[in-house]
Amino acid sequence: MTTTATEGPSQDGPAGSRGRPGPGRGGPRPGASPGTPPGAALAVLPGVLRSALAWTDAHRADFTLPDDVLEPHTQVNATLKPLGELAQLGSTIRRTTDPGAPEHELAGDLVAYAWEQVAGGELLLELLRGEPFAAYPYEIYAAFAGYGLRHEGFEALARPLTATRAWAHTEQHANRQLGLVNSERRVGAVTHTDAGAVLSRTWLGGLSEPWMFEGPSGYALTHTVFHLTDWGRMPDRVPERIDGYLRTWLPAWADGCLESGQWDLTGELLAVAASLPGPAPAALLDAVWPVLADVQHPTGCVPETGMPVEDPAPDPYPFIDCYHSTLVTAFAAALSLRSLRSPGQTDGSAPGRERRTA
C-alpha cells in the first residue's frame, strides 16, 4: 500500500520555483538546528489529526467500492487500494490514540466501514478466487487481520498458496517483500523468508548514500520502515544502525520534500521519524509539522504534491489526488503525538546519532 511518487520533471513544484513564498523557503526549516521553537509540533498536531480524520469521514462515500470491483477491467488502484489504505492507516490511528478520544472512536468507525465494504472479508475471498496467485489480496486482507478482523474462508484458501515455493519466490522489490513478510506475521502464517535478510537488500538497509535520495527511493525507504515496524507499532524492530542513519539524514530529506512540494512524502517521512525507537526527534517534528499544517486545507485534506489551493471552498482537489496524503497526514500525526507525548515509549535507550568518521 503506497502512493505514486511524483514522476518526471517536478521543477514546477510549488515552493521552490513558483510564487508561493511558503513552505520550504523562509518558513520554518526542518532539522536539529537553532531557530525552531520547541513545542511547535505539539501546537499544531491535534488540529491536523482531527481535521484530516474529519475530511476522511466526510468522504467515506469516495472509498466505497463500485459494484464491478471484481471485474478484470476495474482499476484496483482507484478502488481496493484506497480502501485498503483506509483500513491500514485507520487501524494504526485507532491503536495509537487513547480510548475515549474522538479520534480513537472515529478511526475505529472508519475501519469498521472498510470491513463492511469488503463484506466482512467475503469480497476479499472472491477477489482471491479471481486472482489466486496475486499478492495484493493477501496484503489487503492482512491490514484487517492485523486489527483482529478475520475471515476463515479467505485464510483457508490463502494457506496452501502461501506455503508454495512460488509464493516464497514472488519477484518484487525488497521493500515490498518486507510488506509480505509483515502481512504473513499479521495473519499468523509462517513467514516465507527472514526479514533481516530482506531488510539488508533495501535502499534503507544498505545505508545508501543520503545524497542519492529522491522520490522513488524515498517511498521505498518509508515503506521499509512501515513494514519493519508494522506501521509504527513496533519501533524497537528498527536496528540501531538504521535508527542512527535515519535520525541523521531525515532532516535533509524532509527539507527537499518541503521545497519541492512533495507533501505526501513529507508526511511519510514524518511517520518514519515518529516510528523510531527512543525519544522523538523533536527538532525535526517541530520544524516540519507547522509547514505541513499550513499546507492542509481548512477542510482537512492535504494535496499529494504541488502548490496548495488557497480557496477555502470544499473539495479543492480531486479525491484521487489527496486521499492518500490526507490519510498519511492523519497517520503521521497520530504517531507523532504518541512519540512526543510519551518520550522513550519503548526501551528508552539513548537516541542514536550515527557514529562519525575520524
Binding site: 511518487a5 521543477q11 521552490g16 488502484n77
Partner: protein
C-alpha cells in the same frame, strides 16, 4: 587609473553580488520508471513499479 571598459560602479555592484550570492533555485527532478527491460525479462508481462498492484488485463 585602471585600464578597463566597464565603469567602477558596474564592477562593484557585480562584486557585491558575487561575494554574497543568494541560494540558487532548487531544481528537483525524480527518476522515471521505464518498463523496457522489465518487459523483456518478463516475457511480455509488464512489471510495474511495486507500490501499485494492478489487475491483469483480460
Amino acid at each position: 587609473m585602471f585600464t578597463t571598459d566597464t565603469t567602477a560602479t558596474d564592477v562593484e555592484l557585480d562584486l557585491e553580488q558575487a561575494l554574497n550570492p543568494g541560494e540558487v533555485e532548487g531544481l528537483y527532478r525524480d527518476s522515471r520508471e521505464c518498463a523496457y527491460l522489465a518487459l523483456l525479462a518478463g516475457g511480455g508481462a509488464l512489471l510495474l513499479s511495486p507500490p501499485t498492484p494492478r489487475p491483469k488485463k483480460g
